[in-house]
């Protein structure tokens, strides 16, 4: 794999929703390329007939009974919300009033 370019680092930061300064992006570019070098040798491992494992401790996972149980009261669930309106979390509008639809 070739080195990550500045544009790729910016694209990944945007995907990750990280608002970073120009200096921070530059430092990350260097760090990520250093780490990717360490990853490169994995390409040499022969895995042509090996299935991927998401977990290695395999166990039965029985379904529970489909019955309602008490859950977190609304006030408790909302106690940490930065902005609240009644029983709702208040957020910024995602559409402006002039927007279509």
């Amino acid at each position: 794999m070739s080195d990550l370019t500045r544009a790729e680092v910016e694209r990944v930061a945007a995907l990750a929703r990280l608002g970073l300064t120009s200096d921070e992006l530059g430092k990350l570019q260097g760090d990520l390329n250093l780490i990717l070098e360490q990853w490169a040798h994995l390409a040499d491992v022969d895995t042509s007939s090996v299935p991927p494992s998401a977990q290695t401790i395999v166990q039965a996972m029985p379904l529970r009974d489909d019955t309602a149980e008490p859950s977190l009261p609304v006030d408790d669930a909302l106690q940490n919300a930065p902005a609240r309106s009644g029983d709702f979390v208040r957020v910024q509008a995602i559409l402006s009033e002039e927007a279509d639809g």
Partner: protein, 515 residues
């Protein structure tokens, strides 16, 4: 019992003293808070203390012991083993009404609205929860230097790191601020700090302990486990927190071994080593391992052999790929888990001005520290279109090979793998902060067990440069009681070893004052 002896007592000793009436939980709790008050200005292990709640829990425990003493021995023995025993929680365990920061600014001000399953179980067991301990931000790090809040020092050498990410929990137990503490281990974050601070730390089998209410890092790797100063104490804490939980589908229905409550001790523990088969993987004696660490570990292996253990050198050829595999899988899972920190429902928020997207970018860009940003970036990249197969799927395939390597060891009839926990003793602050890869290499000997889901324990096995060295035992799935029994055997074999007489610094003499 009083003063220093209360403070230094193990959980097992405390239980006996509470039963006989030789000590009260309240006296121990007061003694530990006084020590914390005097010393945490130097140690920096604690982020939040529960003075009032802990004292109330201690008083309730003492009342139950008094009632049971009046009723007779059967009533006393029926009390839960951790009743009145103080415990510290790593600050990623939700505990109703307390802050839970995970060492991050992005959770500053967050108050847990519910109990993690292990917190509920510790309450149910009557343990006294002293408070919450410092950690690397979101458990990402090997030195606790990535905490957004404070520096935790190693009680053995205050210019050195305590290990990480559970460095506050390990330092608290090593410095006699608590007999027991809880950590989490995703790539070594219990075993490595246990090694660097000279205590016992166990990562159980994946699924042994519920992860419900634990701030998630990498969900297919994270496990909760105990820190203690003896194997028996670690076993008591594990027994209290382990077991199936309807809130965590990956928690195991595999029964908890009652042997954890009463491990062999003394001669019986030492003689149980006889005939055990230990695999010594040559790949764990990595390049860059300190000579003093290798010497202490090889001496420990020789002691097991002298006691009748059968040691054979083996090869785990995929060990060299574990680091890269881990640093793809763990950041990938972390990037998904940490997507929830968006400043909308809880935690620090920079929403308000501008549009919604800008609020996300600002909240996350300012809320996460440098190591967490690095991992989120790595993980996002590894999961992004065009790279997913080359990195993430490839790593998941190599993970299969790592698990198969271990399977071959168990198929050959070995009882445990013996290896170093950390290739080096505690290092000086700042030594690895400018080079992320050198920090990652600190976990080279611990993270293969996480990739395979296996239980592992680190126990003190000597000193190098007057700093603790840890011996790691890795076992087959669900063999925690076996690993801790072997650990108790090793403790018995080395009970009179000269290195056991060396203690951490007396922090009181170093001054400090309240946190």
């Amino acid at each position: 019992m009083s003063g220093e002896s209360l403070r230094r007592a193990t959980a097992t000793e405390l239980r006996a003293a509470f039963q006989s009436g030789a000590a009260t939980s309240r006296a121990v709790t007061d003694e530990l808070f006084a020590a914390i008050e005097r010393e945490d200005g130097v140690l920096g292990a604690w982020l939040h203390l529960r003075h009032e709640e802990a004292r109330a829990e201690a008083d309730r425990a003492d009342a139950r012991y008094a009632t049971a003493r009046a009723a007779g021995p059967a009533a006393l023995n029926a009390l839960p083993p951790l009743l009145g025993v103080p415990v510290a929680l790593k600050d990623l365990v939700n505990l109703t009404g307390t802050p839970t920061t995970a060492g991050s600014r992005i959770l500053e001000g967050y108050i847990s609205p519910y109990d993690a399953t292990i917190a509920a179980r510790l309450k149910e067991a009557g343990a006294v929860i002293l408070g919450k301990t410092n950690m690397d931000e979101f458990a990402m790090g090997s030195s606790t230097e990535f905490s957004a809040y404070k520096k935790t020092v190693n009680p053995w050498a205050v210019d050195r790191v305590p290990g990480g990410s559970s460095g506050g929990s390990s330092a608290a137990v090593a410095a006699f601020h608590a007999p027991l503490s809880i950590g989490t281990d995703t790539g070594g974050s219990i075993r490595q700090p246990a090694s660097l601070t000279g205590i016992v730390g166990m990562k159980p089998t994946y699924g042994r302990v519920s992860r419900y209410g634990i701030v998630a890092f990498a969900s297919s790797l994270d496990q909760v486990g105990p820190f203690a100063r003896t194997a028996q104490d670690a076993a008591l804490l594990l027994h209290a927190i382990a077991g199936a939980d309807a809130h965590d589908a990956t928690s195991s229905r595999s029964p908890i071994d009652a042997a954890l409550l009463n491990l062999p001790s003394g001669d019986a523990a030492a003689s149980a080593i006889r005939g055990k088969r230990f695999a010594l993987p040559k790949e764990y004696f990595v390049a860059g391992m300190e000579a003093g660490v290798e010497r202490a570990v090889r001496d420990a292996v020789a002691a097991l052999e002298a006691a009748g253990g059968i040691v054979e050198e083996v090869s785990l050829p995929t060990t060299e790929h574990a680091l890269a595999t881990y640093y793809i899988v763990a950041p990938a899972e972390a990037s998904a888990n940490l997507a929830r920190y968006d400043g909308i429902r809880y935690g620090a928020s920079k929403h308000g001005g501008g549009d919604l997207l800008n609020g996300y970018l600002e909240t996350r860009g300012r809320g996460f520290g440098p190591e967490v940003r690095r991992r989120i970036m790595l993980g996002t990249y590894a999961l992004s279109a065009g790279y997913y197969d080359a990195y993430y799927v490839k790593a998941q395939k190599v993970r299969t090979l790592i698990a198969r390597d271990f399977d071959r060891i168990w198929a050959a009839g070995f009882d445990a793998i013996v290896a170093p926990t950390s290739p080096q003793v505690a290092w000086k602050f700042g030594a690895k902060m400018s080079d992320p890869v050198s920090m990652y290499l600190a976990d080279a000997c611990t993270l293969p067990a996480n990739m395979a889901g296996l239980p592992g324990v680190s126990i003190p096995c000597g000193l190098s440069e007057n700093l603790p060295v840890g011996l790691q035992l890795i076992g087959k799935p669900w063999s925690e009681a076996e690993l801790l029994s072997i650990s108790a055997g090793y403790e018995a074999l080395t009970a009179t070893a000269a290195w056991r007489t060396v203690a951490p610094h007396d922090l009181t003499k170093l001054g400090g004052g309240a946190a």
